[in-house]
């Protein structure tokens, strides 16, 4: 099974951009992100600062590796996304749903929707490991790729906003 180069490129650049953007945002707002890592309560308090820097650094590194089409980058991306899903799942199971998910964009509490989102993203990262079919690339393919990226980005952002809006609606008195 092989993937068409246009689809592979959308997947690669979309995933790489996701990691770069979220890693850079975490680095820029490290103080806030540190608080979020602490609230997940998965690590002893004294490792929290190190872990926050480590996670943000890993995100940037994975983003670069994926953009540069390194296989290790896709594997790491899938692992990181699955780990986030697990971290959210653990806290949901503990009943600590009120903590901020820290998933960029609007602040929102944990929800099963976010876990599903991350599992799907993780599977997409795995799909990036499939071999890419080779064929001649024309300008139409470039149009498809750029337009595809714009649409994927807009729909991903819309999904996040809808998840945040749904969380707010559920809490409406």
């Amino acid at each position: 099974m092989s993937v068409d180069p246009v689809i592979a490129a959308i997947l690669q650049f979309g995933l790489g951009w996701l990691f770069l953007a979220s890693g850079v945002q975490k680095l820029r707002r490290m103080e806030e992100f540190r608080g979020i890592v602490a609230m997940y309560r998965l690590l002893p308090q004294r490792f929290v600062t190190t872990a926050a820097w480590f996670v943000a650094g890993v995100e940037v590194a994975v983003g670069l590796a994926v953009v540069l089409d390194q296989r290790a980058g896709f594997i790491a991306a899938a692992v990181v996304l699955a780990a986030y899903a697990a971290a959210m799942g653990i806290n949901l199971a503990r009943g600590r749903r009120f903590i901020d998910c820290g998933c960029g964009g609007t602040r929102q509490p944990l929800s099963i929707g976010l876990v599903v989102r991350n599992v799907l993203l993780s599977l997409i990262a795995v799909a990036g490991l499939l071999p890419v079919a080779s064929r001649a690339i024309g300008w139409v393919d470039v149009v498809s790729m750029v337009a595809g990226l714009v649409v994927v980005g807009a729909l991903y952002a819309a999904t996040n906003q809808l998840l945040a809006a749904r969380a707010r609606l559920e809490e409406w008195v």
Binding site: G35, T106, V151, L155, Q161
Partner: protein, 205 residues
């Protein structure tokens, strides 16, 4: 072939337009949620609900003493949690109001100040300036998140059993008093009061 390419490009343009429109719509839903959020001592959203016991967080006051909200309930004391920030002018204006209410209700109530950001020095300077040394003052992001403090000044009232009576954004004395009114009437927020009223009207209509 040309016709196919043209149709493909046209479709892409339309799909981009549509997905941007969807994005804009979801964004407006978010903005509307913020705007529609009722003014007054109303519960904005989420966090601990009235009638629930807040999560037991180990807190540390500014002067380094460990405290929990449960300790107050264990002694049969209610708590008025007042969330503020040294940079918030309305909080400043409300300080005399909450300290006065705390004095009036001192037979059963303790006042606790809380903030979820800023540097330690800022808070220490603020406590000195406003002479709040008599009250516990906690800086905890986790506490703010637990009560889902969205806007300041924000207050939460816990009864003698440690159960949340009411919470909300408070801008005036009336708003703070409405929390105590909620305790008296057994309604948790103006939102609940309004929807109960709407239900009553439906029944009588």
């Amino acid at each position: 072939m040309n016709a196919l390419i043209v149709s493909n490009v046209v479709l892409w343009v339309l799909v981009i337009g549509l997905s941007l429109a969807v994005f804009a719509l979801t964004r407006q839903i978010g903005v509307l949620h913020e705007r529609v959020a009722p003014a007054g001592a109303l519960t904005l959203s989420g966090g601990v609900k009235a009638g629930e016991t807040p999560p037991q967080l180990a807190l540390t006051t500014l002067d380094g003493q460990a405290m929990t909200l449960a300790a107050y309930a264990a002694n049969g004391r209610g708590v008025l949690l007042f969330f503020l920030s040294p940079t918030c002018p309305l909080c400043r204006a409300l300080l005399p109001v909450v300290t006065k209410i705390a004095k009036e209700e001192r037979t059963w109530l303790d006042l606790v100040f809380a903030s979820d950001g800023g540097t330690r020095d800022e808070h220490i300077a603020y406590v000195a300036e406003k002479q709040l040394q008599a009250y516990p003052y906690v800086v905890s992001q986790e506490l703010g998140v637990a009560f889902r403090v969205g806007k300041l000044p924000y207050a939460a009232l816990l009864d003698e059993k440690g159960v949340l009576v009411a919470k909300g954004l408070v801008n005036t004395r009336e708003h703070v008093e409405s929390l105590f009114e909620a305790k008296r009437l057994g309604v948790s927020s103006v939102n609940e009061y309004m929807s109960a009223k709407a239900r009553d009207e439906e029944v009588s209509a």
